[in-house]
């Protein structure tokens, strides 16, 4: 198991190196000179040169890369041009919103999808199955931002139960913070919930046809035990795979939903930074998010090893 983990962590480091390279290059090939966008309609050759120098854009690209990675390794992601604040601090302050939002969405997704998927599998080709699958089909078909708008229209404009958006911070109390994240989390998790429910259903269905399930039932094991101890655990590998990928997608999806619900999270920070060509922020956020996703994937791989002993020796 230890060797397996070491190998996975090694692969993680290599992946992160390529991620950093990719992020850096992509940001550099974006059309539109950052110096121009920063200076706006009043730019002249002089001020453009000055800003380029201040941003370090006048140096060769490989030198820029080495400097950036060197600083990043020491935890320094540079300074935001727009806010004149350290990028690291900016990211941390925005995580206050995005992390709970993503976790809430993930919680909603897992808590709703797995029981519903198992339920559908046990009611195979009966009305419960069809109902569940119709519901999840709807979830796959409706885009998150649209679902978000519909939720706002119903729960805040019509019913007035929750606010239409915005986030006053955790300082105003835990409940108030949570309330403002509820609708966005549901909108964000809806699509992923639908995908996960379908995956769970088919994975459990497949396992239910296995001989050992038949054996367990034949020797008189209670149906609940059959379902959760024998079937679900063995069906978990594809479920965990999908759920791991989905965690990353939730983070990416928050970019759009944070705009719909005007939440001051990482997604909106990225969007604003891209249009303002705030390069240090764009690079920093993308590197950070990519690292999180890569790390989650590595964690999922390690989890495989725990779930299925065959994998770690493979």
């Amino acid at each position: 198991m230890q060797r397996y983990i070491v190998r996975r962590v090694g692969a993680l480091a290599v992946t992160l190196f390529f991620v950093s390279l990719l992020v850096f290059v992509v940001v550099r090939v974006l059309p539109g000179d950052p110096a121009l966008i920063i200076l706006g309609l009043e730019a002249n050759a002089d001020s453009v040169a000055r800003v380029r120098q201040a941003l370090g854009l006048d140096q060769p690209v490989p030198v820029q890369y080495v400097q950036w990675v060197g600083h990043a390794l020491r935890g320094d992601l540079g300074r935001s041009i727009q806010y004149d604040l350290p990028v690291g601090a900016l990211i941390l302050s925005r995580l206050n919103v995005t992390l709970p939002l993503t976790l809430l969405a993930a919680g909603f997704m897992i808590a709703a999808a797995i029981p519903l998927g198992v339920f559908a599998a046990t009611r195979h080709r009966r009305w419960g199955d069809y109902l569940t699958m119709t519901l999840s089909q709807l979830g796959v078909a409706v885009p998150g931002f649209w679902a978000g708008l519909l939720l706002i229209l119903l729960f805040s404009v019509r019913l007035g139960w929750v606010q239409s958006g915005g986030f006053d911070g955790w300082g105003e109390g835990f409940w108030r913070g949570l309330r403002s994240l509820l609708l966005p989390a549901i909108a964000l998790g809806l699509f992923q919930f639908a995908v996960l429910a379908r995956t769970t259903r088919s994975a459990v269905l497949e396992v239910l046809r296995e001989e050992y399930v038949k054996t367990a039932r034949a020797k008189g094991v209670a149906e609940g035990v059959v379902l959760f101890r024998h079937a679900l655990r063995n069906a978990l590998i594809p479920i965990v795979t999908v759920a791991g990928v989905q965690l990353g997608q939730l983070l990416a999806g928050s970019i759009i939903l944070e705009s719909v619900f005007y939440l001051p999270g990482l997604g909106r920070l990225t969007l604003a930074a891209i249009s303002a060509r705030d390069l240090p922020v764009v690079q920093g956020v993308v590197l950070f998010v990519a690292s999180m996703i890569v790390t989650v994937n590595a964690a999922v791989d390690i989890l495989y090893g725990i779930l299925d002993p065959r994998i770690r020796y493979g």
Partner: protein, 503 residues
């Protein structure tokens, strides 16, 4: 076991959150929540020309010697009066007892410091050109300052009323970007990056009885649909900018809301690359103008809100004359002019527009269909704002703009000088126009200056270096009971000093 409890816990959390005490309503008689679409890139008006900064800071936190009031008139402000005998030396007499929000009294030394700093090329003041005429700033005593100009500058007083000319305390110059201090009715209390800026009432404000609000929250909401939902659910009290004209009729029917429709200095302009064939030919430019039915454009793109323009000068300008009828909608004449210019079968053209501004794409769609009727086959290419700036607007180091036609709103007041600048992205080079403009810059007498402005407007209409489509309207949505908002916007401000909740 875990699998059973998780959903229950989440469900319980959700239920508890929904059942928690009602969200504190935005409607608090001394507090106002105002939506603005863009977060300001810093709060320093002396280093960045962004109108998003002015919307929060100008006249709310920091003020100038002269103020542009809600009718567009220049009124004495931090300077209670001024005089000049030769139009080259202006002496300002400062109001006594005006305090900055840090408690210190504003004195002539602060005015000298702010103006010297604007003139100094090291400062990187975004509008340095406007201060180039200043030769010296002389502090006579604590309340008297004389500004000596190198030459007569008819726009000097206007420059003193601009956002870049606000007065701030010398000792607070380093915190202008995050914590600007001024003499205004409000002070910056809190800036939650990415979410909101909170202003609090300046208790020592020098205008008695103002401001009427204790607290103003500027919330950054860019998405028009989210803004609409927020105003309808009551989470914001005012939408200052961003709700499109398509929603206005519906909002007017809502008894809880009021809609303000007013004038702005934002001229939506169809630009043509005058340095490129066929747009270098005046007959082609006139043909394009004749081919466009501006009423239809206004209806199609703006649901009829806004005003038709005939030149670069908009109705908020005191020298405005209506020249829109000089080159009227006449497709037959357009075809004739095209044939004369050697394009009897029309030509192909590309509109480069930035969808960041919704009205550009909508207007281009209507215009393209109108141009098709006279044989000009125009396609629309949507490009991102950064690309628009480098391709169309062609900022340095760009040498030649890469576009045929585009559409964008030019929001600055008194910007007719753009047409006297052959390097501007229109690339219109008319020595005759440039001469009239230069004259207007040194003509202080109001009557003569007006005559020059009328001449320039007529010349722009007749020469058609661009097509001025319409003035973008000011559309502000407020909750019923919010009073004191400016109807028109002659300057880039959101002055909240007189805004109040009706008792």
């Amino acid at each position: 076991m875990m699998r059973v409890t998780t959903p229950i816990v989440i469900a319980a959390l959700c239920a508890a959150a929904v059942a928690a005490p009602a969200v504190v309503s935005a409607q608090n008689p001394t507090s106002l929540v105002v939506q603005v679409p863009t977060e300001p890139p810093g709060l320093d008006m002396t280093s960045n020309p962004s109108s998003a900064i002015a919307a929060v800071v100008f006249d709310n936190v920091q003020e100038g010697l002269i103020k542009i009031d809600r009718t567009g008139k220049m009124v004495p402000w931090l300077a209670e009066r001024w005089y000049t005998s030769d139009n080259k030396n202006y002496t300002f007499f400062l109001r006594k007892g005006v305090r900055f929000s840090n408690g210190r009294e504003m004195k002539a030394a602060d005015v000298k410091f702010a103006l010297d700093r604007a003139v100094n090329p090291e400062t990187k003041h975004p509008y340095r050109v406007q201060y180039e005429a200043i030769q010296d700033v002389i502090q006579k005593d604590d309340y008297t300052v004389t500004v000596a100009l190198k030459k007569v500058d008819a726009t000097f007083l206007y420059t003193m009323a601009r956002q870049g000319s606000v007065i701030y305390p010398r000792e607070a110059v380093d915190t202008l970007k995050s914590q600007p201090i001024g003499t205004g009715p409000f002070t910056v209390s809190d800036w939650v990056r990415g979410d909101r800026i909170v202003l609090l009432r300046n208790k020592d404000y020098w205008v008695k009885g103002l401001p009427k609000l204790d607290r103003v929250v500027f919330r950054f909401i860019a998405d028009p649909n989210s803004t609409l939902a927020a105003i309808k659910s009551g989470d914001i009290d005012v939408s200052a900018f961003g709700i499109g004209p398509e929603s206005v009729d519906e909002l007017k029917k809502d008894a809880r809301l009021s809609v303000i429709v007013g004038d702005t200095t934002n001229d939506v302009t169809l630009s043509m690359n005058n340095s490129k064939k066929p747009y270098s030919d005046k007959r082609v430019r006139l043909a394009i103008t004749h081919a466009i039915n501006k009423d239809e454009v206004l209806k199609g793109a703006m649901f009829g809100y806004g005003k038709i323009l005939g030149s670069n000068v908009d109705p908020t300008n005191p020298y405005f004359v209506d020249v829109s009828k000089r080159v009227a909608y006449d497709p037959a004449k357009a075809k004739k002019l095209l044939a004369e210019a050697g394009y009897p079968n029309g030509f192909d053209a590309v509109f480069k527009v930035a969808p960041q501004y919704y009205y550009t794409v909508r207007s281009a769609e209507v215009v393209a269909s109108q141009l098709a009727k006279v044989g000009i086959r125009a396609t629309i290419q949507q490009i991102e704002w950064g690309q628009w700036l480098s391709q169309v607007f062609c900022l340095a180091p760009c040498q030649t703009p890469d576009y045929d036609m585009s559409i964008i709103g030019h929001a600055e007041a008194w910007d007719i000088g753009n047409f006297a600048n052959p390097k501007y992205y229109f690339r219109w080079d008319s020595p005759e126009f440039q001469k009239i403009y230069q004259d207007s810059q040194v003509t202080v007498d109001d009557k003569s200056r007006r005559a020059l402005y009328v001449k320039m407007q007529e010349m722009l209409a007749d020469e058609a270096p661009a097509v001025w489509l319409y003035m973008h309207p000011r559309l502000v949505i407020t909750k019923k009971g919010v009073t004191g908002f400016w109807k028109d916007l002659p300057a880039p401000v959101q002055d909240l000093s007189e805004v109040a909740w009706q008792k």
